[in-house]
Subunit: 222 residues, 2 copies
């Protein structure tokens, strides 16, 4: 399978690229608005993987080209770039692809982080509204610390939540998630339930800030 | 310490009463709008405790009397009864008490459960707005399955999140929570962060409904 990480030069893009490259045989395509930057980052990821004994090719492309070549397209961009990123690749994705969104809208104030969904109700619903008709959308990977995932020395034992209305697309993303060692994927239902999933991310950041030794905290449902 | 569970005849009230009665020496006061019902339930709890080898007195009172006698008052009532319950005991609680709120506002639709906070922003903020001036308010125990807690055969290994603006009151509730075997209390910050904590409850219910074997699911932050 070919996985494109649009905005794959950022934190969560890097984290997923490294884990999938290490733990699976899927082809990893790092996308960026700037193809040169994508190629540079892809090389960095190869070096990082090499340092843990994994010989792996990671390719960098402009977002359009990465989306065009991929079966699964991950929108690894901040919530405020989700819409323009989708629009920039809209003619490169079809209903045979899966569009994955890990982004969360948050605001910070003196008390901590708070969930701030877009008018659509959640970022996942915004993605579903913006994506070309028929392209299946799945929300996943919201509640993982990018720093923790990107550190390949850390063994994971965490859950991630998946929401989607297309069962086949959800199954693909659940499988991809669970191919990362130490990650379990749980369903949280349809896209209409995405707000509760996305709202977990500011909570995790608040817990990380308020409790000693909980930097990069994740979650297990038991 | 004396702990009053207002609405202590309901699910979460019963669960906390049984666990605190079994695991601590605190005096447990079951409150209800109907004192007779409170006394009946308190007797039931004693019988239940006796069946697991714990000889314990649990007393039942009207909510007003229970609140009057207690150091810690838990509003174990549904979100839509929080305001009238506080008003009914307002002249029985002082700034030397701690008011604890585990309630969450939710709505259910065809997709699942959704967080529906009151206008105050969260139930915890509503409690803080409604409580007499100076009475410290702490949000806690939102994300625990009452059925799981009420079954004393089940060993817990779960977290609960605590929010509050009064450090002494938070410390008291953290201690009370951790005196329940297998329960760890983590801070999620001040009351302004309560919405993200309460929003975890509908997520847990959605996960319980969507995944086999996850009935009564709880959470661990790791």
């Amino acid at each position: 399978m070919r996985i494109a990480l649009l905005g794959g030069t950022g934190d969560i893009g890097q984290a997923l690229a490294l884990r999938w490259a290490r733990d699976t045989d899927h082809e990893i395509l790092v996308g960026s608005r700037d193809p040169e930057r994508a190629r540079g980052k892809a090389e960095e990821y190869e070096t990082e993987l090499d340092s843990v004994g994994v010989e792996r090719t990671v390719k960098g492309f402009g977002n359009e080209m990465a989306a065009d070549r991929a079966d699964v397209v991950v929108l690894a961009v901040p919530a405020y770039h989700v819409r323009d990123t989708i629009e920039s690749v809209a003619d490169r994705i079809t209903d045979a692809d899966v569009l994955v969104t890990p982004a969360v809208g948050m605001k910070r104030d003196d008390d901590g982080f708070h969930y701030k969904p877009p008018k659509a109700g959640s970022v996942t619903e915004l993605v579903a509204d913006t994506a070309p008709d028929g392209v299946p959308v799945v929300g996943a990977f919201h509640n993982l610390s990018a720093d923790r995932l990107a550190n390949l020395d850390v063994e994971l034992d965490l859950d991630t939540l998946v929401v989607g209305d297309n069962d086949d697309a959800v199954d693909i993303v659940v499988t991809l998630a669970e191919q990362i060692e130490g990650l379990r994927a749980l369903s949280a239902g349809g896209i209409a339930n995405a707000a509760e999933v996305e709202g977990l991310t500011p909570l995790l950041i608040n817990i990380a800030m308020e409790n000693e030794g909980m930097h990069d905290v994740g979650v297990k449902f038991e």
